[in-house]
C-alpha cells in the first residue's frame, strides 16, 4: 500500500487505479493524500543525493555496448541500416533454404540478410554482374 502511494506522487497523480481505470484529478483527494504521503515521499527521496556518483552509471553502459558488439552482428567498416525489401515468395523460400543449408554446413551466422549483404558486396566489387 505504501509503495502505491509513493508511486502516485512520483507520476503526478496520473496512474491507473486498482481496477485498471485512469483516476480523475481530484484536488481534495490529492490534498488528503499529500498529507498522509508527504513525509513518506520525502523519506523516499532522501537517499537520492548520494547516488549522484557518475562512475557506476557509465561503467555498466560501456559493458553493455561491448556485450552487444560481441553478441550481435559482426562489426563492419560501415554503418548498418535496416531496410525493408519486397521479395517474391519463392525468392524468400530460396534465401531461407540457402541460409539453412549454409548453417548445416557449418556457417553458423548464415541468414537471408547475410546472403543479401554478401551479394551486394560482390556486386560492388564487380565479381557478380547484373544481366542489364
Amino acid at each position: 500500500m505504501t509503495k502505491k502511494r509513493i508511486s502516485k506522487d512520483q507520476f503526478g497523480g496520473l496512474f491507473s487505479g486498482t481496477k485498471g481505470t485512469a483516476t480523475t484529478h481530484d484536488a481534495t483527494q490529492d490534498a488528503a493524500t499529500r498529507k498522509t504521503t508527504a513525509p513518506r515521499a520525502k523519506s523516499a527521496r532522501q537517499p537520492a543525493p548520494p547516488a549522484a556518483d557518475p562512475a557506476p552509471v557509465t561503467a555498466p553502459a560501456v559493458q553493455q555496448d561491448d556485450a552487444a558488439a560481441v553478441k550481435g552482428r559482426p562489426r563492419t567498416h560501415d554503418e548498418l541500416v535496416r531496410v525493408t525489401t519486397v521479395l517474391e515468395r519463392s525468392q524468400q523460400r530460396f534465401l531461407d533454404r540457402l541460409a539453412s543449408d549454409l548453417r548445416a554446413r557449418g556457417k553458423t551466422d548464415a541468414s537471408a540478410a547475410a546472403i543479401l549483404r554478401e551479394l551486394v558486396r560482390q556486386l560492388e566489387n564487380g565479381t557478380v554482374k547484373l544481366p542489364w
Binding site: S90, Q92, R93, D96, R97, A99, S100, A104
Partner: protein
C-alpha cells in the same frame, strides 16, 4: 497408442521459426514448444503428438508442397515424415 516425436529444444525452436515463415504448421510447432517449455537442455525429449497435428502436417504436404518442411534439417525431416506414415 499416441505417436511420439523425439526432438531437442533447439529443434523445437527452429520448428517455431519455420512455422513463422509458413514452412511448418503453426499448431504443431506451438504444441511442441509448449511441451518442451519446461526444458532448457540439449538432450532430446519425447513429445506425444496428437493425430490431428499429424494430419495438419500431411495437409501441408499436399496443399503447399513448396513450403512443406523447407529449412527443416534432413534428420528431423525424416522423423517428421516417419510420423506421417502412422496416419496415412
Amino acid at each position: 497408442m499416441t505417436p511420439e516425436l523425439t526432438l531437442t529444444t533447439a529443434e523445437a525452436r527452429h520448428l517455431q521459426w519455420c512455422a513463422g515463415r509458413g514452412y511448418f504448421p503453426d499448431d504443431f510447432a506451438a504444441h511442441v514448444i509448449q511441451h518442451l517449455s519446461d526444458w532448457d537442455d540439449a538432450r532430446p525429449h519425447v513429445v506425444p503428438i496428437p493425430e490431428h497435428l499429424i494430419h495438419s502436417l500431411v495437409l501441408m504436404r499436399v496443399d503447399c508442397p513448396d513450403d512443406y518442411l523447407t529449412c527443416v534439417a534432413p534428420d528431423l525431416r525424416d522423423r517428421l515424415t516417419a510420423l506421417e506414415t502412422l496416419v496415412d
